[in-house]
């Protein structure tokens, strides 16, 4: 179980909304906080990782549960 600060459910939404909403949510959090993102978009598997690499945030963990994709992103900056 990964600890997290806030959770964002983007179920049912397609590209680019999971990224746009994740960005907005993370921006409102403090450095060191962890955002749990839930998505049903298969494209998010690659996109969340790319977004983290490009913006310098840490993708701590990703997982698949009941057809949903779960990500834990730590705000580093």
């Amino acid at each position: 179980m990964t600890e997290y600060t806030e959770v964002l459910d983007t179920s049912g939404l397609s590209c680019p909304l999971p990224i746009l909403k994740s960005k907005k949510a993370l921006k409102a959090m403090n450095i060191g906080d962890i955002l749990k993102i839930i998505s049903t978009d298969a494209g998010s598997e690659k996109d969340i990782a790319s977004w983290c690499r490009v913006t310098g945030q840490e993708l701590m963990n990703s997982d698949k549960e009941d057809g949903k994709y779960i990500y834990f992103v730590k705000r580093l900056k």
């Binding site: 397609s14 680019p16 746009l20 490009v54 310098g56 900056k77």
Partner: protein
């Protein structure tokens, strides 16, 4: 990484079909979420994407569009696409696919671009040619010419014409 110069993307949006409005707005809004500096230059029919009265009513034409799907397995002959009402039908169909797939609407994506500080530039020359007034376009953009766009694009890492 924060000391690094941000990446920059410059897009020219020259088309005003519903399907053609998505790529510049999706890439523009996503690039802003990736901390890029983004500018979109709207010219010719691309101006419809930022036209207050038209942006919610963009259409997709089935005529001369061989990729347009038929009804079930039945492919609709191309010339039928030219009949009255077919553009309306094709537009309705595409909007319903987009909605079912949870894709953002054009107004939503435009809003995301604005919130992400994407620079929106309307082409002065094509506004004059097409008789479009400043007040016809959304308030958040600026009006400029080729040099305005090129000044931004000269330092761009990615430049695209759509």
């Amino acid at each position: 990484m924060s000391e690094e110069k941000p990446k920059r993307m410059a897009i020219i949006a020259g088309k005003g079909g519903l399907d053609e409005a998505y790529p510049p707005l999706i890439l523009g809004s996503t690039a802003s979420a990736l901390d890029f500096e983004v500018a979109i230059f709207f010219t010719f029919y691309g101006l419809d994407i930022v036209n207050k009265k038209k942006l919610k009513k963009l259409k997709v034409a089935p005529l001369a569009n061989p990729a347009m799907p038929g009804i079930g397995p039945i492919q609709i002959p191309n010339f039928i696409g030219g009949l009255p009402g077919m553009t309306f039908m094709a537009t309705k169909m595409m909007k319903s696919w987009m909605n079912n797939a949870g894709v953002a609407t054009i107004p939503d994506l435009l809003e995301a671009c604005i919130l992400g500080d994407v620079q929106l530039i309307a082409c002065q020359m094509t506004m004059d040619v097409m008789g479009i007034k400043r007040e016809d376009l959304i308030d958040e953009l600026e009006v400029g010419g080729a040099a305005t766009f090129l000044e931004f694009a000269k330092d761009a890492d990615i430049t695209m014409y759509m």
